[in-house]
Amino acid sequence: MATKGKVLIIDDDPDFCEFMRTGLESGGFEVLTAASGKQGLSLMRSAKPDLVFLDVVMAHPTEGVDVTATIKEDPELWDIPVVMLTSIMDTEYIGHFPTDRPLAVDQFLTKPVPMAEVLRIANETVGAKS
């Protein structure tokens, strides 16, 4: 079955990765998952996903932010759209926790994100690309 596109989930919570996989696959996407920023970056390079959902706080509080910094530097990666996810209460926290560095992301969402919203973003982003 031809998929609509490749979506990469970078999150250290295996349940969350699994839930996103289930939802996105039911929406017709091919889903890859990575449990760390490092693994996520290497998958981005090798598999060239059309969209990345990136968790902020993994093993290190700023791991997700570090990933975006690397993406910004790498011409191979900087065109891939990134949606940042966090379970931090609200975006007001972003001022001081986990970072006040500028984030190189296309959208910023707070967990839990309704699957309808995830699918809408995926459809819009991947649809716009292809």
Partner: protein, 467 residues
């Protein structure tokens, strides 16, 4: 004999004042001599000017010495030498004034009363004893001068314009004038030094009060800072707790949303819900551990502690733990020393310490491994340890091991479910009983957690804090 003044620092400052005052005295004397000369032609100006010049000269010497002392400030020398220095100046001044009096009419000179100033200066700068000594010296000098002039040992200058010279040859008059002057000097010394001492005492009290205030202020600032830190830590803790609670809750909601929204195909629904259930239990564990943690935090350890037999408590825990170890294919060995003294703790808390440590060892040791529980006495402590052949702890993770919510990556990889609060609870509990906890470990080789609790002595049942 010079007594040390309680406010030595003030004295040090007053030395300069004394030297400045003397310059004014020199100028005043010169003007006085000229005016007196106009009124009283009999006055011998030259010796008076010479004496005044001498005063100026020694004041220069004093000023130089004062500067030298000033340069050595902070060494204590200045403070030690200042009283003697002041006393020396006053004595030299007395002699100089007596010389001036001698050349300006002796007993006939009404300015003899200026002797009082020296006594008062001594009372202000030095002690009561010193000022009385100065009054006595002034009396001796004055009486001696009058006596020597009266007997003709020293030449006497008459001031015919001011007084009837004949009057001063009357011994009774001279004696009564000398007596009155000396008495005045002594009384002035007594009164001035009494006032001065009282002022010094007040100043001393004020300084002391200020010092106490300063100490209190510093202590309050410290307490305030500690409270601020406690408050900051608490806020940080609440934020962490909120984050920790939100993670499983977020996962559960995502799972429910997936199933209810029809995004999960029927064959996957059960898996999704099962995962949600695990996370819900995790949430429940977390809430239980948080309550436990709060209890450990405010535990009034020694107050609630009673002598507890460590081996009995451990026996109760081991029953359950053996089953767990067997289920996982681990060997659980125990080395419990005989005749262990009781430790001061509460049985429930002690049970929770053992349960936490042993179940951790079982959790993080792969099948086929060993878990060894040891209890032994060491001096005034009973030491319990749990050793395993499990995943171990890396050097970098060691410092954070007892932090709330901290779990090593290896631990997370091996056992997904865990709150990271257990060791924090154990540490707080052990420490609340005056005990210690420590860990020896090497990544991949295994870990050994040990804790020491003080032995309960016979008096400890009276709930006194004796350690």
């Amino acid at each position: 004999m010079i007594d040390f003044h309680p406010l030595k620092l003030e004295l040090v400052e007053r030395i300069d004042w004394l030297i400045r005052l003397r310059w004014w005295a020199v100028a005043g004397t010169l003007v006085g001599i000229l005016v007196a000369r106009l009124v009283e032609p009999a006055l011998p100006v030259l010796p008076l000017i010479i004496v005044t010049g001498f005063i100026g000269l020694y004041n220069v010497v004093f000023a130089l010495y004062a500067r030298q002392l000033w340069q050595r400030r902070g060494t204590g020398i200045r403070r030690r030498r200042s009283p003697q220095f002041a006393a020396t100046q006053i004595v030299v001044d007395l002699v100089a004034l007596t010389a001036l009096l001698h050349f300006s009419g002796g007993i006939e000179n009404p300015f003899a009363i200026f002797l009082v100033f020296h006594v008062i200066i001594a009372a202000i700068l030095l002690s009561r004893r010193a000022s009385v000594a100065v009054a006595l010296l002034a009396s001796v000098l004055y009486a001696g001068l009058v006596f020597l002039e009266l007997t003709g040992w020293l030449p006497h200058v008459h001031l015919p314009l001011l007084a009837d010279p004949a009057r001063y040859t009357v011994v009774a008059y001279a004696a009564s004038k000398v007596g009155a002057t000396c008495l005045t000097l002594l009384l002035a010394a007594a009164m001035a030094s009494s006032v001065s001492e009282r002022l010094q005492q007040r100043t001393q009290d004020l300084l002391e009060a200020n010092r106490v205030c300063e100490v209190n202020r510093t202590e309050l600032a410290e307490v305030n800072e500690r409270l601020r830190q406690v408050d900051a830590a608490r806020t940080q803790f609440i934020v962490m707790v909120a984050h920790e609670l939100r993670a499983p809750m977020g996962a559960i909601i995502t799972a429910l949303n997936l199933v209810l929204g029809g995004y999960a195909p029927p064959e996957k629904q059960r898996d999704v819900l099962e995962r949600a259930q695990v996370r819900a239990y995790e949430l429940l564990d977390l809430i239980r551990d948080l309550l436990e943690l709060v209890r450990a935090r405010r535990l009034e350890g020694p107050a609630q502690a009673t002598p507890v037999a460590m081996d009995q408590v451990l026996d109760g825990v081991l029953g359950l733990m053996r089953v767990e170890a067997e289920n996982k294919g681990l060997t659980l060995t125990t080395h419990i020393a005989p005749d262990l003294p009781p430790v001061r703790a509460t049985p429930d808390q002690l049970k929770s310490i053992w349960t936490n440590l042993i179940s951790n060892a079982i959790k993080y040791t792969p099948a086929g491994g060993q878990v060894t529980v040891t209890v032994a006495r060491d001096g005034n402590e009973v030491i319990g340890s749990v050793e395993d052949t499990g995943i171990g702890i890396s050097r970098e993770d060691m410092p954070r091991l007892f932090e709330e919510f901290f779990r090593t990556e290896q631990a997370k990889a091996m056992v997904q479910r865990g709150t990271g609060v257990g060791l924090a609870i154990v540490k707080r509990t052990v420490e609340s009983y005056g005990g210690r906890i420590w860990v020896e470990s090497e990544a991949g080789q295994g870990s050994k957690f040990s804790f020491a609790l003080p032995v309960a002595d016979d008096t400890s049942t009276t709930q006194t804090e004796d350690r």
